[in-house]
Symmetry: C2
Subunit: 198 residues, 2 copies
């Protein structure tokens, strides 16, 4: 039962559906919002209103932005590298941008092939990728190192044969700052094979 009326209960239930928040932390979040009404709740409410109005998916790459084509697709400096990085999710795109990978462009698949879950090529953004592949010299498949990710990478590689673009993938190896004995053997053996001179 709600102790704070239906408005509070509904806010808790909606916040509890966000990743990382359960019912308990959603309640704590709502209390924090109410306590900091001027500094937090009203600004958050306004920011959400603005985001609802402004945010959209980029019709070219699938990125989320306030314009479409997004600010990355619309940036002419990003044409020079000729490199398109294919990711599963917008979160991966943002992670690569935070890592400062350079003046590249992206294509967001919006998922991976998963026959067991009924996800086929028509359910993710593969046709759109094939349609723009000719604009790039190199296509980097930055999908996750999962079975589904690798299945998806193989499928895309096959479909891109004859497109003229070089198809590459991210290097496997030891994460920077990573401790060897926490890594699986596959990563370790690949890191050894791909060793570089120092």
């Amino acid at each position: 039962m709600a102790s704070g009326g239906p408005e509070i209960e509904q806010l808790i239930q909606l916040l509890a559906r966000l990743p990382g928040l359960g019912p308990r932390s959603a309640r704590r979040a709502v209390l924090q919002l109410v306590k900091k009404k001027e500094q937090l709740m009203i600004p958050l409410s306004a920011a959400l209103d603005r985001a609802v109005e402004a945010v959209r998916s980029c019709e070219v790459c699938g990125n989320i932005d306030t314009m479409s084509p997004c600010s990355i697709c619309a940036d002419p400096r990003r044409n020079d590298s000729g490199m398109l990085i294919v990711v599963e999710d917008v979160a991966d795109l943002w992670a690569l941008e935070r890592a400062g990978v350079g003046a590249v462009k992206y294509h967001v698949l919006g998922g991976v092939l998963s026959p067991l879950d009924g996800v086929g090529p028509e359910d993710i953004s593969i046709e759109a990728l094939l349609g723009r592949a000719h604009e790039f010299r190199e296509i980097v498949l930055a999908v996750n190192a999962t079975v589904e990710g690798q299945t998806t990478a193989h499928y895309i590689t096959d479909r891109l044969a004859g497109s003229g673009a070089k198809v590459t993938r991210l290097a496997h190896g030891v994460p920077v700052g990573g401790e060897l004995d926490y890594l699986d053997e596959g990563t370790l053996s690949q890191a050894l094979r791909a060793r570089t001179e120092i």
Copy 2:
């Protein structure tokens, strides 16, 4: 740098200030909001708008509700027990309500006495408590079992002397489902002293 424009970046920064969410989970939360715009983002935006309008602190007990006096203070069935439960925080009030403790009333202190942090009796809701104590037969000090909580309980007990109300505290003991060897010795010895026949 933001990859999704200033509206998204601001939303991430505000969500990251909620308890339980850091920058990383705030980014994931925003992606989830954008992906589920119709089912989640728009309802959350509307729920926040309504809460900003409707939510207020109860002028009697300090609870958070959409009316003041709050629905608990305004409920005449809650007068019969004559019991007032004093808590540190609204979260504690909600926890007791979820536990179904009965037709009681509450008083939210909004903190505990902490001389080291400069929190004195005038900084928490003690005068208001003293002003309504005469309405109750029993006052249960349900403050946390911390040094500050116990200091606060002693201070309130002294100030309530002569009010005519019986002053009690929650029982110490083994939490339901709790494992003995995870409990501190103070709890265990108090649980043994307060043992009951089965």
